[in-house]
Amino acid sequence: MTRIIPRLDIKGPNLVKGIHLEGLRVLGRPEDFARHYYKEGADELLYMDVVASLYGRNSLLDMVERTSREIFIPLCVGGGLRSLDDIRAVLRAGADKVALNTAVIRRPAFIREAAATFGSSTVVVSIEAMKGTSGEYQCFTDNGREPTGRDALLWAKEVAELGAGELLVTSIDKEGTGQGFDVDLLRKISSAVSIPVVACGGAGRPQHILDAIRRGGADAACMASLVHYDAIQRGICAERNTEGNVDYLTGGARFTLVEAASIPDIKRDLAEAGVDVRRTRMGIQNG
């Protein structure tokens, strides 16, 4: 069964989205979006801490705690988790799994340690890859800023061997473009490992998710702008005094990069194409 997983990039108390050449745009409060997605039938949630500093950590933990009190689907949290203690804190706050990138690229053995301590299924390794000139993919850390020189396909295989439960695969080239996932990257990785692969980065319309699954072999898909802008249009960011350009966000301006879609929209399209998805009563009513 294909899982649909909204990804929420979190900075302090805000849900944000990286906009090319603009930096981070504040969209609203993560809790509001999370609650909405839960009701609409999201299969899991992914919270990525984009600041990932010691200062920001308490705010993130509070948010995880609040989320797990009212939202009863799996929650994965990532962003700057460096040690077993960091992981433990996030799990104690209510998360079910953690996404690791920088910490494990620096020290691959950390995957084994985390898996041994918390269980393999708790450890998701996040691979951020950029396509090079000869068609190979290189891994990056720090939200696509730091090249590592590691080949993404080889790294994916190594990560699976070391005991990770899942792979989160993000195409840096595609992320935020709304032009679709990197199906090639997904296909290469998903056929090389026997742990689940979650596609991340690039969804601009439901068809892209279908491509990631059918052509990319992904077991699940994450999306951000695609669903966030739909949620905004449905009035989810209720507060008028949040940072950011609220008029722009709610003023019906077309977001040209994505054709905003709700989770029920996505699942309906997938179901019509014969993909096995979970559709909740609420989701079908709203879709």
Binding site: S68, R69, F72, G119, S120, E166, D219
Partner: protein
């Protein structure tokens, strides 16, 4: 939430002990118990366990390690005693697997022996590139002629999706101990088991949205009826 002896009856509500043996998603279980009106406390010693009306054994991680920790803390005997006293014991995910006689995980390891049966690995067909662990939502259906009335799945609609994350599954020796099944990549496996007052769920009801919460509500009603 105190776990002193007798706290359950003093609180006047159905009380459940959630066993902490260092491996498991305690906090999600606690959150859902709270949501379902179940007074729940995290316990880690036999003495604390003895005071509760019912016990939940959660678990995420490896079978041999879990049994080792339970044994070390005197919890194997305490859990068997809980069941012998007629109290309800609910095992979730790894906790469900621990209820059985033995598991193949890592090396053959004895379990709690509370439900006859063995725990085996989900088959991995290399041709199909079956992904293990099995992670995701699957429909649960009643075993052939069985009804869910009188079980913790009462009022849950057949075919509801529940959330799974596992690489192993239990095979109860007796068909009548299988309450529900799910199918993953061609393998139909036991989703829910019951043997007397011992209940096991391979899926995570506390991560399965509103339908999963219904299971905890049923647990609360079951415990209230017993008091």
């Amino acid at each position: 939430m105190s776990a002193e002896h007798g706290w359950g009856s003093r609180m006047g509500r159905a009380s459940v002990a959630v066993v902490d043996f260092g491996m498991g998603n305690l906090f999600s279980v606690m959150n859902v118990c709270q949501r379902a009106g179940l007074s729940a406390a995290i316990v880690s010693t036999p003495r604390e366990l003895a005071a509760a009306d019912a016990v939940i054994l959660p678990g995420v991680g490896g079978f041999p390690e879990a049994m080792r920790v339970l044994q070390e803390n005197g919890l194997v005997a305490a859990l068997q005693e809980t069941v012998a006293q007629g109290k309800i014991l609910v095992g979730i995910c790894l906790g469900h697997q621990l209820l059985f006689d033995e598991s193949d995980e890592v090396h053959p390891t004895k379990g709690l022996g509370l439900i006859p049966g063995r725990v085996v690995r989900l088959p991995q067909d290399p041709q199909k590139n079956t992904k293990i662990p099995h992670i995701g939502w699957k429909q649960i259906v009643p075993r052939r002629a069985a009804s869910w009335e009188g079980t913790l799945l009462e009022n849950v609609a057949a075919g509801q999706h529940m959330y799974y994350v596992h690489s192993y599954y239990a095979r109860p020796e007796s068909d009548t101990d299988v309450i529900a099944t799910s199918t993953y990549d061609g393998t139909t496996f036991c989703a829910a088991a019951r043997h007397g007052n011992v209940h096991g769920f391979q899926f995570h009801p506390e991560r399965s949205g509103e339908e999963g919460i219904a299971l905890y509500l049923n647990l609360r009603h079951a415990v209230e009826r017993m008091r």
